[in-house]
């Protein structure tokens, strides 16, 4: 780890003008571009800078978890049928139409302005879903006119699509409860069937980052900013370029929330069709939705004083402790649910944020297992092995849109996520609530 480029990246982030406190690394840290993946940096909201590289190309990449009334034994005989239904219902996005084909630019502007609220208006969400989504599924300040025509074109067929790489939909069962009181509060119980979705803002977000990064790179010198990595390019938050990026970032973040909400709706439809049950029997409910690539304005106590900061979380999850006003009333006594996917062969975790996170990490936690192996090495290691059959033997049915999608994401390409969440718990940043074991995985 000492020679890992990720550590240099943590040091580079500490050079950002206006940074408050430490440049932080979460235990799932690995080499990214600009910021490390698993990096957190808070900058002063007035004197600090905004860095698109501190958010990433996949603006508001995130995770959501839904629970059902089903128990594993009732679904087990129909896993293949369920996996097929999910695979057919949820497009990956390349060469396929989205769930909502051909949105006009005018319609897309509504999506980026309203986020998950657009999904609510169009029958893809409930009020309860929005309450259980970070920021209510809509970041304020989104300006649809800060999104380029090319970004709209890239996103036009992608609402309700998963994407490839490490994105996935995972059906699992709760196989361990660490805190029964917290689990009760989140509606989780042993052997219950859950659905986890990991995706982001798709081409619309990728292009938005690219467009604004270029403008910011060109403007940096004007503000006397020089940084050790071009990918860290940053401008003052108060500058015209900074404000334009923040308005565009919010718009792309809203697209991502709407995207995950639509996919959750599609997943519910797939369950109902594959298992021939009623919505009441299924009782599909969102536990929570978190984003892990974002910059947010939040008030934190620094050196005993309340201070408004802009928290860049790049591969890091917000983890607000109990009582925080940003949480919906139902979750306020519990703390914010923190969803930590592992790899597709082992397990994922549900945690909650603790008060310590507010003091030590600007209310932030890890976001996943963290890669251990490059994609190239993972593919080499897999070689001619039939990974699909190996995972089947482990009790995991996989459906993938691309062959590489499985090899690159082989379980041992990742750290053991159990160790990652144990570090967060030892630091009293989060507490473990439940562990989820996947049994059906859809990959892009």
């Amino acid at each position: 780890m000492r020679d890992d480029p990720a550590l240099t990246q943590v040091a580079n982030v500490a050079c950002l003008p206006g940074i408050v406190g430490y440049s932080l690394a979460m235990p799932d840290i690995h080499w990214g571009y600009g910021f490390p993946i698993g990096g957190v940096a808070a900058v002063d909201a007035h004197e600090g800078v905004i860095s698109p590289g501190g958010v990433g190309y996949d603006i508001n990449c995130g995770v959501r978890l839904a629970r059902t009334n089903l128990h594993f034994n009732s679904v087990e005989p129909k896993i293949d049928r369920l996996a097929d239904a999910l695979f057919n219902k949820i497009p990956a996005g390349v060469g396929s139409w989205g769930a909502i084909p051909g949105l006009s630019i005018g319609q897309l502007k509504d999506v980026v302005r309203d986020g998950a609220k657009w999904a609510l208006r169009n029958g893809y969400a409930t009020e309860r879903d929005l309450e259980h989504t970070e920021e209510g599924g809509r970041l304020p300040g989104a300006d649809p006119d800060r999104i380029s025509e090319r970004a709209y074109q890239r996103g036009s067929k992608q609402l309700g699509t998963l994407g490839s790489g490490n994105h996935f939909l995972e059906v699992g069962r709760v196989d361990e409860i660490y805190d029964s009181k917290l689990a009760d509060a989140l509606g989780l119980e042993l052997d219950q069937v859950t659905i986890m979705i990991h995706s982001g803002s798709r081409g619309l977000g990728h292009q938005t980052c690219d467009d604004h990064l270029k403008v910011i790179l060109g403007a940096m010198a004007r503000y006397g900013i020089s940084l050790p990595d071009r990918q860290l390019a940053a401008v003052p938050i108060s500058s015209a370029e900074g404000q334009a990026y923040l308005a565009a970032m919010a718009a792309a973040a809203n697209f991502a929330w709407c995207n995950r909400q639509v996919m959750m709706h599609l997943a519910e439809q797939a369950f109902l069709e594959a298992l021939s049950i009623t919505p009441k029997e299924l009782n599909f409910e969102l536990v929570y939705d978190v984003c892990h690539n974002i910059a947010k304005f939040e008030e934190h106590t620094v050196d005993g004083h309340k201070r408004l900061v802009c928290v860049h979380r790049k591969g890091a999850t917000r983890a607000f402790g109990p009582g925080h006003a940003a949480l919906p009333e139902a979750l306020r006594p519990v703390g914010q649910p923190v969803l930590i996917p592992g790899d597709m062969g082992r397990y994922s975790f549900v945690l909650v944020g603790l008060e310590t996170a507010m003091r030590e990490t600007f209310g932030s936690s890890c976001h996943g297992a963290g890669r251990l192996m490059s994609r190239t090495k993972a593919k080499r290691e897999v070689g001619g092995r039939d990974l699909r059959a190996e995972l089947k033997a482990l009790g995991v049915t996989v459906r993938a849109h691309t062959r590489a999608g499985i090899a690159e994401e082989m379980p041992h390409a990742y750290k053991d996520v159990a160790e990652v969440v144990e570090v967060m718990e030892a630091a009293r940043v989060t507490r473990r609530v439940a562990r989820l074991k996947p049994f059906a995985v859809i990959k892009g």
Binding site: I37, V94, G95, R154, L217, D229, L372, S374
Partner: protein, 149 residues
């Protein structure tokens, strides 16, 4: 002068090399000339997106980019080509390059992407600036590019 297209799928390994990057995809390229370096980069991007051998050279598209530095020419060229794939759904098998000091005119030859015939290898979100390198040395031209995937 336009470079002559001579590459086939089996020669991909000679055109570029993937290097170990924990999160994303990194490639290294070498070439005897500047124009050939850009041409190989264009082909490498296609090879990362699809199984290039399945692509037929039926149509062509032209991309023009301008920038003060070779680094930005490389970034912008690959960004434009990525958009050609993601927005227009066009995939190419080969490319030729006309170069000037601060501009490139690149012609790619291929066909509309067809998921039934072209094996998609995985999404590329963007061409990053992280450790982006284009240099000329005694041994020829070299470049290093990291893609966000």
């Amino acid at each position: 002068m336009p470079t002559k297209p001579t590459t086939t799928q089996t020669e991909d390994d000679a055109l570029f090399r993937e290097f170990e990057h924990t999160g994303d995809i990194g490639i290294e390229l070498t070439a005897p000339t500047r124009a050939e370096l850009f041409r190989r980069a264009a082909i490498a991007l296609a090879a990362l997106l699809v199984e290039r051998a399945s692509v037929a050279e039926i149509e062509q598209r032209e991309i023009a980019v301008e920038a003060d530095a070779d680094l930005d020419l490389m970034h912008d060229l690959l960004g434009e080509l990525l958009a050609l794939f993601t927005v227009e759904g066009f995939i190419w098998r080969d490319a030729s390059v006309e170069e000037a000091d601060r501009s490139l005119r690149v012609t790619v030859r291929g066909e509309p992407f067809d998921p039934g015939r072209h094996e998609f290898r995985g999404e590329i979100k963007a061409v990053t600036y992280h450790q982006l390198m284009v240099e000329n040395s005694l041994d020829g031209w070299r470049s290093r590019i990291i893609f966000d995937v």
